[in-house]
Symmetry: C2
Subunit: 298 residues, 2 copies
């Protein structure tokens, strides 16, 4: 256990409301009809980004703004929710940076057709901290959770991993390689809406394919068996970096399970399947994967 | 204009959605019925607190947690909204501080009967930054805004100012004086719900009575004439500190206008009235108040 895990465990005890989903899902799902139904349920998420942790010091704040919006909307995508609006928590920086942030925010709001509803700005010293709350409306009842995968289900991924890793490295090292995937991820909103009625479990891949798959497996009480040869990698990922690419996050593809025989209505890759819980959440090519599975917070 | 004002002006251009209320109100008010009605509208707010800005380094994090919840709920109170839930953005600190934070959060959630729905935690260096999003359900249609005061309306305040100022000074100076008002403010939720159907304009006093009254006046396009002798002060505020107490915030009383002849259904003090806009937002005992009006962000 690390510090963040301890803290979240303590928070969980304060969050018995069913809408909180045990703080174990990408979003809160709030029924506002008062009927217990979740048709038209409100889907809510709040994610933070910190300078030097989630973005490189000196990075273009327009890209940071885009990513702040995109990553929160990716959580909505995992619930098949249609975005409604965002509230921004902003720490003021220097005026040029803040102008770039506004420009990137404008790009993202327009690209994803989402309204800026409110928020707060503060002045502070030290690394800057940003927060965004996104709310959306569920398009399917109930919205998928991480907890519904059944033995026999296929495990699918909407697109390649590793692009954000290469983009980060290009940016960090100042090379000419394309860093778009790291700077300007695109939440799979349309895919999430199309998949919500079909997926037995769904989440977005933010911390790494393997660790996120392990989380889905644990939430569902199954083991996920992944075949590395079936994983789609970004075209720039060299064979020697595939192990890293499975453990790097920030690609924001959707990871989901479908009952055997069901085909996804959107382009996706079948990378494995769920089996009866075998004592471990994850098997990679039939064995327990070595080393860290992904980005561990804290 | 300062940096924060410039930034907010730029943000405002990105927030044309009517629910955003021009980023000039305490909350966003979102109609989810699709009918344009705001009955049962969702009321949303996001406020941040930063170490060294909004709380003293070394302060008990249980009090900080309480205040983070209370100040956001105070924004809901100003809309007559009933709290539904909160999402927390948390920067990890040392383990003891974080345990105290959890304890204070538990106190506040229980005291105000509000659900913890979700959020995010991050690790970061430097002064800690916290964010909270609160959502509530409007109890009256339309929820009061800051913009409805009319000439002739009475100007009212639900309780005394200056208690938080004295509490802050006690804490800062390590004296034995009571610091509760600064550490554990109580949002006027029941008062806000009772007042929402009657108030022509309403807001909470967070940055100082005079500056917040000036904001209400500007939003409404009137001048507010305040009589200093009618302002209720915390019993500990010495005569010589009354000017300061009018300019200090953090008391979280509700400031509101009622049509002439209407009496508030909750205990409140009539501190002035609205007149036709006279070129200045505020008159204090018939004159333009001197000096700073309150806490200016940025």
């Amino acid at each position: 256990m690390n510090k963040e895990a301890d803290f979240i465990a303590a928070l969980r005890a304060l969050a018995p409301h069913p809408a909180a989903r045990g703080l174990a899902d990408d979003c809160a799902v709030l029924d506002l009809t008062g009927t217990g139904a979740t048709s038209g349920a409100l889907v809510l998420t709040h994610d933070m980004m910190v300078e030097g942790v989630h973005w490189l010091p000196g990075q273009d704040m327009a890209d940071v703004a885009w990513k702040l919006v995109a990553t929160n909307l990716s959580d909505l995508a995992a619930k098949g929710a249609a975005p409604v609006g965002v509230l921004l928590g902003f720490t003021l920086g220097d005026a040029d940076d803040d102008r770039r942030f506004i420009a990137g925010l404008a790009d993202a709001l327009a690209a994803f057709d989402v309204a800026l509803l409110g928020g707060d700005t503060v002045a502070a010293t030290g690394p800057r901290s940003l927060g965004l709350t996104a709310l959306g409306r569920a398009t399917h009842t109930p919205p998928p959770s991480r907890a519904g995968a059944q033995p026999g289900d296929g495990l699918w991924l909407t697109g390649p991993v590793g692009g954000a890793m290469l983009g980060y490295e290009a940016l960090r090292d100042g090379t000419a390689a394309d860093s778009t995937a790291f700077r300007r991820p695109v939440p799979r909103l349309a895919e999430g809406i199309a998949l919500a009625p079909l997926a037995s479990a769904m989440m977005d891949v933010s911390d790494g394919l393997l660790i996120d798959a392990a989380r889905l497996a644990q939430a569902s009480g199954v083991t996920l068996s992944i075949e590395s040869g079936a994983i789609p990698f970004h075209h720039g990922v060299h064979l020697s970096r595939r192990d890293d690419a499975m453990r790097w996050g920030d690609d924001y593809e959707l990871l989901f399970t479908l009952p055997a025989g069901v085909s996804p209505p959107v382009p996706a890759f079948r990378i494995g399947h769920a089996i009866v819980h075998s004592g471990r959440p994850l098997l990679l090519d039939g064995a327990v994967p070595h080393g860290r599975l992904g980005y561990m917070h804290g």
